[in-house]
């Protein structure tokens, strides 16, 4: 029982390190889209590892922890995808080192999609 | 450890509240008020009040932000 608690504590520590890496990436990345990517990926993995470690240590709440993990795994990429689409739609400035942008090429082919393009806020 | 978390959370709440009052744009003020509710909920949980924390998370951080942005979308063209 004691070894299970120590293993769970180490998994929680690994998850918090991933959360810290996500926050550092949020500061150091040059662009809105790269910030969305690094924030969502690192923080999703860190939260799932932390919750899994807590569920190993405290087995009474393992069912609710499992529900929370499933919920985060579904909703967090969906919300960041919607946010990135909105940011591309309002024309947020991209970084200078951006290589390819397929979505704007797609919108140029279909001019009814950008009929009323609002200004960036 | 709990004392350090409480002190840091209180400092962050004060900074976000000053941002919510002093900023020029309305949307940023609404987001800052949401962050104040979010951190205050963790603080209530540390002070052993889970029901208050639940209410603060549901109403302060979720519902009021949603209603504020809904109304801001409605009055977008009105000056």
């Amino acid at each position: 029982m004691e070894t299970l608690k120590i293993i769970g504590a180490f998994i929680t520590l690994a998850g918090s390190v991933f959360l810290l890496l996500g926050s550092i990436g949020l500061i150091r990345m040059p662009d809105v889209f790269t910030r969305i990517q690094v924030g969502t990926k690192a923080s999703t993995l860190g939260t799932i590892l932390s919750l899994f470690g807590i569920g190993l240590m405290f087995t009474e709440i393992a069912g609710k922890i499992f529900l929370l993990i499933i919920f985060i795994l579904i909703t967090n990429p969906v919300s960041s995808h919607m946010l990135a689409r909105a940011a591309h739609y309002i024309g947020v400035k991209k970084a200078d080192i951006t290589v390819v942008d397929k979505l704007s090429e797609f919108r140029e082919k279909q001019p009814e999609n950008n009929a009323q393009k609002p200004e960036a806020e | 450890m709990n004392l350090i978390i409480v002190i840091v959370l209180c400092l962050l709440i004060v900074a976000m509240a000053v941002t919510a009052i002093m900023h020029k744009k309305l949307t940023i003020s609404v987001l800052a008020a949401g962050v104040v509710s979010l951190l205050a909920s963790v603080l209530y949980l540390l002070l052993a009040a889970p029901d208050v924390a639940m209410t603060e998370a549901a109403i302060g951080s979720g519902l009021s932000t949603i209603i504020f942005f809904y109304v801001l979308n409605k009055i977008r063209n009105v000056k």
């Binding site: 120590i6 926050s23 809105v32 609710k64 946010l83 309002i90 | 962050l12 940023i28 889970p50 801001l72």
Partner: protein, 86 residues
């Protein structure tokens, strides 16, 4: 042993909360602030789970469940507001 490791993990989570709040103050646009808000919610869920273990009361995890539900709705509503299609 386990409690010491958990305290270190809690300190790292608090540091990452402060770092993501720094991006809230020095942001270029509204989208940056929404990303920061999202990541702060995620870190708060981890902190609430950790507080649940250290205090030993199983009812605290319900607050994390409510957080997971409502942060999703908040980010989605801001995205719809930016796209002018609410």
């Amino acid at each position: 042993m386990a409690n010491t490791i958990l305290q270190i993990a809690g300190g790292i989570m608090l540091l990452s909360l402060v770092l993501s709040l720094y991006r809230f103050f020095r942001a270029g646009s509204l989208v940056d602030r929404v990303i920061s808000f999202d990541i702060m919610t995620i870190i708060s869920i981890s902190m609430i789970a950790m507080i649940t273990y250290t205090s030993g009361r199983a009812i605290y995890i319900d607050v994390a469940l409510i957080y997971g539900l409502l942060s999703f709705l908040g980010v989605v509503i801001v995205a719809r507001y930016l796209e002018k299609s609410l």
